[in-house]
Structures are given as C-alpha cells and as structure tokens.
C-alpha cells in the first residue's frame, strides 16, 4: 500500500455545494438518447420470445416487410453473419466455467421469455411496434426451469444443451482450519436465506441511437450506458467495427444502479442495422420490455454457518451460495455473487473462512450487477446470522457484535484481503444513541407484556463493504478481463478556464460538481470556471467508467494526482516567469509565490500557451493526465438501525424509523453523499419489504410491469435519519472510500433483522424477502398451527 499523503479538506472540498447538473435536468434541457432525431432514421423493434424455453422452428418476416412503413426485417439466422463474437462476458471465474455463445438475436432456441428472435426496422416507432406483431415465429415450447436449485437437479431441463448441465461454475475460497473450528465450536448456527430477484428500474429506460458514415466506416453509438469505454472495446469485438472507427457516447443518463453497467444486444443490433441500412437507427425499450430484456439483480440461495465460543465469539464462517445466472452470461453475471466472496464474515474478526458459490443457468433474464452487487447479499447473510447467534445465546445482538468487531487496522481478514481503516464501535455508538436503543427495547418489552398485537422490532446491520473497484492485479487474479484503474485529465485553457476529462462516467452521481470541487481546491479555479467532460470516447479517450462505488475512490484520486502534475509543470513555468529557481516557488491554491512576486495559475496557463518564455525542455500547453490504479479496495462501513412495527393481525410491516451511520471516509460533498445514502437505503428497504421479480413455473415473468412489481413510493418510507463518522482512507490522498452502494448494502439486513426481532417471541426466526403482509401473516399462521 502506498504511504498516505496529506488529507485534503480545503476551501471547497467538504462543503455542501449544490449540484451544478440539476438546473439543466430540472428545466428539461438534458440530452437523453431518446430525444435524438436525425433525417432518415429508422426505429428498431425487437421480436421477443413469449416462451421461457422454446426451439425456434421458423421465422417468417414477410408479413412485416409488407407493412408500408417497414424498411427491413430479419431473423436471428439472417443476422448471424453480422457477429464476430458473442455479447461480452468479462468475468469467466474459473477455467472450466461453462460460457455459452450469446448472439444478439437467438437462432436455434429462445432461452428466456423476452429473448430476441427477430428484428424489424421501420420509419416510425408505431410502425416498428406494429411490425413486431406481424413477424411469424413458429416455436416448439420446451420445459423450462426457473429455480436455481431445481436447475441443478438430475433431469432438469437444460438451458444450454451443449453443457449437459445447468451448472455454470463452482468457485471456492478457503482459509484457516474451518472444519476444526466448527468441530471445536461450543455453539454453531446454520441459516438459509433467499435473495429475492430484483428489477433495477432506472427511471430512464434503456435507449440506443446509432449512426454511420458508410464512406469511412465510422460509427457513433449514443447509449444509455454507465460504461461507454467498456462498450466501445466490447462492441467492436461483437460487430467487427474497428475500435478506432467506433465512438460511444453516454449523454445524460437517468439512473443505472448497475443495470446500465452492461453491453446489451440492442447496442450491437443498432450498430449492425445501421451498417446494413446506412441509416441512423434508434431503439428505446418500453418499461415492460425492459423487464424482459434488461438485467435483473440478486436471485441467490444462501447457506451460512457460524462457529462460535459459548460467549459468542465467532471463530469461523462457512458460506455456500447457489446463484442464478439466468439464461446467458451478461457483462459480469458470473462475478456478481463473487464480489461478496470476501465479506461473509462482515466486520467481525474470525480465524476460519470458507466460501463456495455455484452459478446456475435458469430460463430467466440474466442477472448482473444491481446496486451493491454481491455485497448486499453477503452483508445480509452475515448480519442475519449474527442475530441468529445472539438469539441462540440469549444475548443482545449489540453485545455479540461488540464481542466480534475488528478493531485493529490495517486489518488482514481471514478471506485474504486487508481492510485499510475503520472504527466500527464509533458507528455503532452513534447509531444506538440516535435510535435511543434502550428506550426502544423497553417499549418492545412493554408491548410484549401488554399483549399488543403490534409487535416492535429493532434490527441492526453493522456492515463493512469493499468498493472502489479495483486494484488491477487483483482483478486479474480473479480472472476479470479488464483493469480497475481510472483516468483523469486537467486542461488549463489559455483564457482562464479549465476542462476536466473524467474517465468515470456519471449517470446521476454529480461528478460535474464533486470533480470541480477537487480541482477548485487544488488549483484555485472558481467552480464555474471548470467544465467537467465525460461519457464520450472521442472526448475522453481513457476510462473504465462508473460502477462499484469507484468514481471518487479511483477517478477522483486520479484527478487529485493530475492536479499535482499540473502544479509540477506550472511551478517550472512560474519560476521562469518570476525569474527565480523552481525551489524558490511555493504553490498555494492556484498562486505561485516567488521571493519577489507571484503569478497565478491562469497567467501560467497563458504563458504555456503562447510559449514565448518557457524554460528549456518544457513543452507548450498546460495539461496533465493521471491514470490511477488503486493499491487496495476501499472499505466503507457503518451501523444501520431499523425499527419496525409488525401487525400480527394483518401481517403488515411498517418501517417506523431508520437510522443510518456511515463512515465513507473523507466527504467531498455532503449533499451528494446524503443523497446517495437516501437512495441506497430506499432500494435496500424495497428489497426487504416490497420488491420481488416472480417467475411462474413455466418461466413467465408474473411481475411483468410496475403494477405487479412494487417500486415503493414516498408514502412507504419514513424520513431517513443520517449520521456520519469519518475515518479517512489511508490508501489514497483524498481519504475517500465511496458511497454509491452503502445504503443498499446495509439496509436489507437491518430491516429483516427488525422484522424477525419483532416476531421472535412468536416463534418466527426467518421470513423470506420481501416481507409482504401475506408472507408475514402466513408465517404467523404456520407457527400458530
């Protein structure tokens, strides 16, 4: 790990600057992909399989072609020659992983309801939708499998016949003498949890717009993507368009949550159709189409065992996952459950650690990264299991947590990584005091005594997560295909303003504000003198994009170091301008002081541009790029407390209060950090209480629209009560750790621990997420006999 530099909290970093992006968004001036129009453009329509699993016997596009406004229509077989390779999966976790071919349009079999089987192109969106209905596809329906455990059973229908199994891979991580520790344990608990399948539901649907210059073979793809740089590399591989001829632009993007951290069939299709027709091509999903074609999240079965002493000191953790991949491997499908592989001991000090995950194909929409990606699942398992251990020992869950916290940092953890910093007691102290924990426990006891049918439950989640993805060498070691670095460029323009090029690609996170704060602090510019450019491979050549709470912890640090490079070069030029030695020049926020005068950075930038009086060997221009490869992950942590009321007569769960204490390291912009936590908690609470994608046994998505898939409204939530503690990360000079996913990682466990806590005296020790009134009511009926 690199030596810690000074922690920079200056004039602007750390202050609640209002987001510079919002005025444009609020006044309707954002540039969304779906708003784009060009003469001659055609609209793409995708014919999708109504069956979860079916052989495609024939596809007849002639009736669609007969439609007056239809320009073209093709089956998967007719498009096959367009593809140089499969849609990308960048994370094949083992040598023997079964990685299927995945063409943008299926040819032989449809493997999930919504699988693309043909495309149409028409001169209007309405005509494209009509033409989709006109394509005649003859299917031979096959038995489907949707449950990952059922998919592993002998005789299960095979999603990919060629493998002879639905097993995609099995990945293990073992450390310490786990079997001995379990054999010697005074107490063990064994729990089984289900991670409900979730639909990300970014408010802006996915859309793509592709144009070409047939004479030069150049293509431009506008896409609602989190990852324009990754999309360019991989779509080049799918379509055969040389990377140098392909420009990918992510304009304003309205939320992603991981669902736009992907490379989708429709992006490749738009390029291929643009190539065939020589016309601009546009596609925008409808909400219900998105439910069948945009990745889902979670869908795992977890078994976790804890070995502990009689006092409750945990000695070993054993975790076993069965994780649904869905029908194909999207960009990081197999790796998502593995992003939690190191975290099943949570914030607790254990000696033995064993993790195994089996990825399984099912006839469902592929799963992939959804806010937290692997870490909410791990956090849920360990935090629920710690509560189960406390119950078994008759101890307060606070006491068991305190007994087990990691307290010395840097902390090498049993799973093999090193947590750089943290103070878990401090978070828990603030959380308990804010929640008035003892008073709530007293109210809980009072209600029990009085026989109140509304039980009170209090749930904790003292999580730690790893983000800031990621050290490239570690990514390589776990067989991820790309690096984890990030790039930033600062360009000091001659007339006094600056451009910042960010390889991290925001889709709502506020980079334009936070990045400007960092540069303003270091280089003395006013915020409105700094323009942050991003999301266009022609403007920002180097980037690894935005996911895994990495933008600030990797990209922001790259920016910090780019500013250092600017200062380094500017100091040389300033010395010449001040007629002194470099060593005599001191830089303080954009002003270079010499023994007998000073010059501003803006004056230096102008001098660098005219190049009339530069020191020998110094190139004209004042621009610097830094590519930062983090030496470690970053490790946000915290303590969340949920207080719920469960009505034992109706099964209804009401979230009464939610207190979150997060330590995300140094905070650049507290407004943005709080906003991230608000939204993250809302998504995690939604997983715990409201949201679930349900397939019937035939593989039909029963929750196929927003009427049946319940994204909560404002009325379902209380006011989030937020607090922070701060242990700066010693891994990077900004001290930052990342905050994009903490809320979603911590909150499902806190809420479900509260629900179970409320009902523990009724004899209930587990309820599957989401804890709907029906599920709670049925669980109560079951224990009441």
């Amino acid at each position: 790990m690199s030596a810690p530099a000074e922690v920079v909290v200056g004039r602007i970093v750390g202050t609640p600057v209002e987001r510079r992006e919002d005025k444009k968004l609020l006044q309707g001036q954002a540039q969304w992909v779906d708003n784009m129009r060009l003469p001659g453009m055609v609209f793409l329509g995708v014919v999708r399989s109504p069956y979860a699993h079916a052989r495609i016997k024939s596809v007849n596009v002639a009736p669609a072609l007969a439609h007056a406004d239809v320009v073209a229509a093709w089956s998967g077989a007719e498009l096959a020659e367009e593809w140089q390779g499969s849609l990308p999966c960048a994370w094949i976790p083992t040598e023997d992983t079964n990685a299927p071919e995945h063409k943008p349009v299926a040819v032989d079999k449809a493997r999930h309801a919504g699988d693309a089987v043909a495309v149409v192109a028409a001169t209007s969106r309405g005509a494209a939708e009509d033409a989709v209905e006109l394509v005649e596809v003859e299917y031979e329906p096959l038995p489907a499998v949707v449950d990952p455990e059922a998919a592993l059973a002998d005789g299960a229908p095979l999603v990919h016949d060629e493998f002879g199994t639905n097993r995609c891979y099995t990945w293990r991580l073992d450390a310490g003498e786990v079997d001995r520790l379990f054999a010697e344990a005074a107490v063990t608990v064994k729990e089984r949890y289900r991670q409900n399948r979730l639909i990300p539901n970014a408010i802006e649907p996915r859309a793509v717009f592709a144009t070409s210059v047939p004479a030069t073979g150049e293509f431009t793809l506008w896409s609602t993507t989190q990852v324009p740089h990754i999309a360019r590399v991989t779509l080049s591989g799918v379509t055969g368009i040389p990377e140098a001829k392909l420009r990918v632009i992510a304009p304003d993007v309205g939320g992603g949550f991981g669902s736009k951290l992907n490379v989708y069939a429709e992006e490749a299709l738009a390029l291929a159709v643009a190539r065939r027709l020589g016309r601009p091509v546009k596609w925008t999903e409808t909400r219900s189409e998105g439910y069948l074609s945009t990745i889902h999240g979670r869908d795992q079965i977890q078994e976790i065992e804890l070995a502990a002493t009689a006092e409750g000191k945990i000695t070993a953790v054993r975790a076993r996952l069965t994780a649904a991949m869905g029908a194909y491997l999207q960009l990081v499908t197999p790796g998502v459950p593995l992003l939690g592989a190191w975290l099943f001991a949570g914030s607790y000090d254990v000696q033995g650690y064993s993790f195994e995950c089996t990825g399984v194909f099912t006839n469902t929409v592929p799963t992939d990264a959804y806010r937290g990606a692997g870490r909410p699942e791990a956090t849920y398992a360990i935090e629920r299991a710690v509560d189960a251990l406390a119950r078994k020992l008759g101890k307060d869950p606070v006491e068991v947590r305190r007994l087990n916290f990691i307290r010395e940092f840097p902390a090498p953890i049993a799973s093999g990584l090193t947590i750089d910093s943290g103070d878990y007691d401090a978070c828990l102290d603030v959380a308990l005091e804010s929640a008035d924990y003892e008073a709530v426990r007293q109210e809980q006891r009072d209600r029990r005594r009085s026989g109140d049918p509304k039980r009170l439950g209090i749930g904790l989640s003292t999580y730690v997560e790893m983000c800031g993805l990621a050290p490239s060498a570690i990514l390589g070691a776990i067989r991820y295909s790309a690096g984890g670095w990030e790039a930033a460029t600062i360009r000091c323009l001659p007339a006094g303003t600056a451009q910042v090029l960010s390889g991290a690609t925001p889709h709502g996170q506020g980079h334009e504000t936070s990045w400007a704060q960092i540069v303003a602090d270091r280089l003395g510019y006013e915020l409105d003198e700094i323009e942050v450019l991003h999301g266009d491979t022609a403007v920002v050549p180097l980037g690894m994009d935005t996911y895994g709470s990495r933008s600030l912890a990797v990209g922001g640090v790259a920016l910090y170091y780019a500013a250092e490079r600017i200062v380094e070069k500017a100091t040389k030029i300033a010395a010449k301008l001040l007629d002194t030695d470099e060593e005599q020049v001191e830089h303080v926020r954009g002003v270079f002081h010499g023994p007998e005068g000073s010059v501003t950075l803006k004056e230096v930038a102008f001098a660098a541009w005219t190049a009339h009086n530069l020191p020998e060997g110094v190139e004209p221009g004042l621009e610097a790029t830094y590519v930062y490869d983090p030496p470690n992950f970053s490790w946000p942590a915290g303590a969340h407390v949920a207080i719920v009321e469960v009505d034992t007569e109706t099964g209804a769960v009401e979230l009464r209060r939610y207190v979150a204490v997060d330590d995300v390291g140094t905070v650049v912009n507290p407004l943005i950090v709080e906003g991230q936590v608000h939204g993250g908690i809302a998504q995690g609470v939604a997983q715990a209480l409201y949201e679930e994608a349900v397939y019937d046994d035939d593989g039909n998505l029963a929750t196929s629209n927003m009427v049946t898939y319940l994204v909560p409204s404002a009325a379902e939530f209380p006011r989030w009560e937020l607090h922070r503690t701060e242990t700066p990360s010693p891994t990077n000079p900004l001290g930052v750790k990342g905050v994009g996913e903490t809320g979603a990682i911590a909150s499902p466990a806190a809420v479900m621990n509260a629900v179970v806590d409320a009902l523990a005296d009724d004899g209930i020790h587990d309820i599957d997420m989401p804890a709907t009134p029906e599920r709670v009511w049925r669980a109560l009926k079951e224990v009441q006999g």
């Binding site: 539901n201 939204g679 908690i681 809302a682």
Partner: protein, 46 residues
Amino acid sequence: MVLAAVSLLAENPSPSQDEIRHALEGNICRCTGYQNIVEAIEAVAR
C-alpha cells in the same frame, strides 16, 4: 413530482409530512429515496 407538489400546495398550503408523502405516491423516484423532494415541498409550504 413538481406538478403533484404544486397541486398539493394549491389544495393544502400547510401539509403534514405524511400528507406530502401520500400526495406524491403516484410518482416514482429511484434515486432520491424521496427525502429531499419531501423536504423541498416542506420548505416551500412553510
């Protein structure tokens, strides 16, 4: 959201937090957890 808020305040210039939350329930937001939207309406209502 903005229209729902304007409509609420036209009918009820001093809504409670609960009334604000219910007035917004026809609109879905995935980013904010609704907190600052509710607080913005409270700020205007005051």
